[in-house]
């Protein structure tokens, strides 16, 4: 048959939305260059850093939102990564010194087969693109096209024992490349944790890429956690160790201020941070200068998938 039926078009031949949408970036970059040439603004540091390596063959996922993704520049120049400083621009400015090779992730604790994974090995796992909403505890949000694999896949390889009730994630500590750790802002290294069922949930991702390329350092290269129904700080960056434990671990922000940051930290518009409201949020780059903030959704809009994890729990108590 000469006429190609529509389903004969391979998915790989369709330009993914994320690539298609990048035309805007191209246009914006052109405008920025022009502005730079006229001396209006200095060339952005993000563009100067170059981008990651292409990650081939990431499948699209049904878990992706159809919402408009934030630009590469927005995602990579407005970050919270306190090891590099507490200003939103600090990670983009200082994270480039982070050494991400060689890199291993030790997976141990209450497991039958503890293992040290090399990052190259993890990059070879079947990858998916997941376009997730990210809601920061500071009441702003973004939409981010991550590339990664379900944490569950890694967990199954190490066979947790019956004692494994929680999973702890430890972030890298490289004082020589991390100006922020000189001050005791948090108890370094940064530690986060999930309950076992949260960790096994199909939405819980280990991300190795962004916009089809390896993760930029300020976003938690080379591998980070992404838990889209929890406030952003739960999604630990630059992970070096994943430990299975019986008791609920002490996480970095709970240690810093347990009255403000709980272990669960699920996105919840009804439970305010003691110092600001969580009922609404500002979507970075998309809500106009003079438009009202948008309503925050329960579990960041992932209630259908995750609400059952918390049935019978008082979410005001377990914030």
């Amino acid at each position: 048959m000469l006429i190609r039926r529509p389903d004969a078009i391979k998915p790989s031949e369709i330009t993914p939305d994320s690539v298609y949408l990048r035309r805007r970036e191209f246009v914006k970059a052109g405008v920025a260059m022009l502005a730079g040439a006229t001396g209006l603004v200095s060339a952005g540091s993000v563009e100067a850093q170059g981008r990651g390596k292409k990650l081939a063959g990431a499948r699209m996922s049904n878990f992706s939102t159809m919402e408009k993704a934030n630009s590469y520049k927005e995602i990579t120049s407005y970050n919270n990564y306190y090891e590099f400083g507490t200003d939103k621009s600090d990670p983009a400015s200082y994270a480039q010194k982070l050494k991400t090779r060689p890199w291993t992730v030790l997976v141990d604790g209450e497991v039958k087969r503890p293992k040290r994974f090399d990052i190259e090995e993890l990059l070879k796992l079947p990858l998916e693109e997941r376009i997730y909403r990210l809601r920061c505890v500071e009441a702003w949000s973004m939409v981010i096209p991550w590339v990664g694999f379900e944490l569950k896949q890694l967990i199954q390889q190490v066979e947790p024992t019956g004692k494994a009730k929680f999973v702890e994630f430890v972030t890298v500590l490289q004082p020589e490349s991390m100006p922020g750790v000189r001050a005791p802002v948090l108890d370094w290294p940064y530690v986060e944790a999930l309950r076992m069922d949260e960790a096994m949930h199909p939405l819980t991702l280990l991300a190795v890429g962004l916009y089809g390329e390896t993760l930029p350092k300020q976003n938690g290269a080379p591998i980070r956690l992404v838990v889209p129904w929890k406030y952003g700080f739960k999604s630990a960056k630059s992970i070096v160790r994943i430990r299975f434990v019986e008791k609920q671990p002490k996480t970095a922000w709970v240690k810093a201020a347990s009255n403000e940051y709980g272990f669960y930290s699920n996105v919840n518009p009804d439970v305010d941070h003691p110092r600001w409201s969580q009922a609404t949020e500002r979507r970075i780059g998309q809500d106009g200068f003079f438009s009202p903030r948008r309503k925050t959704l329960m579990f960041n809009g992932y209630a259908d998938q995750v609400a059952r994890l918390y049935t019978g729990m008082d979410l005001r108590k377990f914030y």
Partner: protein, 218 residues
């Protein structure tokens, strides 16, 4: 302070002390500083439509106007100690302007909160003021600035009488403390920045306490 400006206003030609400037030079200095003080506002006004205010421009507006309010409050409070230490009495001529700039940036700061942040959502604003200590104390600080701005004219100084006027304007000490606490309470974890403002304020207020104690013991 009121006495100092009255002294200048009397306009009797006096022998110029070292550090004193001619009225013309003072006027020029004042004009230049006036324009410079508009700089932060101009940056926001030009930067907003040109998308030069970073990834989260509303946060930039809120932080910039808040920071500059504190800077101008502290600058206003620096005039008297600086004048005493340097003998540059013409500095007193800048004080009202700096104080009014503090009010101007506070007004922009409050405006950015009401308009850009809350979009005139009265219920949300009232809830914030009641529930969030850092917003409560910020509102209190702003409320204290209003009578000071209103009574900043020469006519109001005369109407109130120097003594009352000075008593009223001592509110600036309280509102400066409230302003720094407002900043301190809003930061998430890293208190370096508010601590710097607190330190400068402590020096400026400490100077006055020491000066007052010295006067009493003499």
């Amino acid at each position: 302070m009121a006495a100092a400006s009255a002294e200048i206003r009397q306009g009797k030609p006096r022998a110029r002390k070292p550090g004193a400037l001619s009225p013309k030079t003072v006027a020029w200095t004042k004009a230049i500083i006036f324009v410079l003080c508009l700089g932060p506002f101009a940056r926001l006004l030009i930067g907003a439509p040109l998308d030069l205010l970073g990834i989260n421009p509303i946060e930039t507006v809120r932080r910039s106007t808040g920071t500059w309010t504190l800077v101008f409050v502290l600058a206003t409070l620096s005039v008297t100690p600086l004048r005493r230490l340097t003998g540059w009495h013409w500095l007193a001529r800048l004080r009202r302007m700096l104080g009014l700039y503090a009010f101007f940036y506070a007004l922009l700061h409050l405006g950015s909160y009401i308009w850009l942040e809350q979009f005139f959502d009265g219920a949300a604003i009232v809830k914030d003021i009641i529930k969030r200590p850092f917003i409560t104390i910020g509102s209190v600080a702003f409320a204290m600035m209003v009578p000071l701005a209103v009574t900043s004219t020469d006519a109001m100084v005369r109407r109130l009488g120097g003594k009352n006027w000075i008593a009223l304007h001592r509110l600036v000490y309280v509102l400066a403390i409230c302003g720094v606490i407002h900043y301190w309470w809003l930061v998430k974890r890293d208190i370096t920045q508010p601590a710097i403002y607190a330190l400068v304020l402590m020096v400026l207020l400490g100077y006055r306490v020491v000066a007052a104690l010295k006067k009493r013991t003499l």
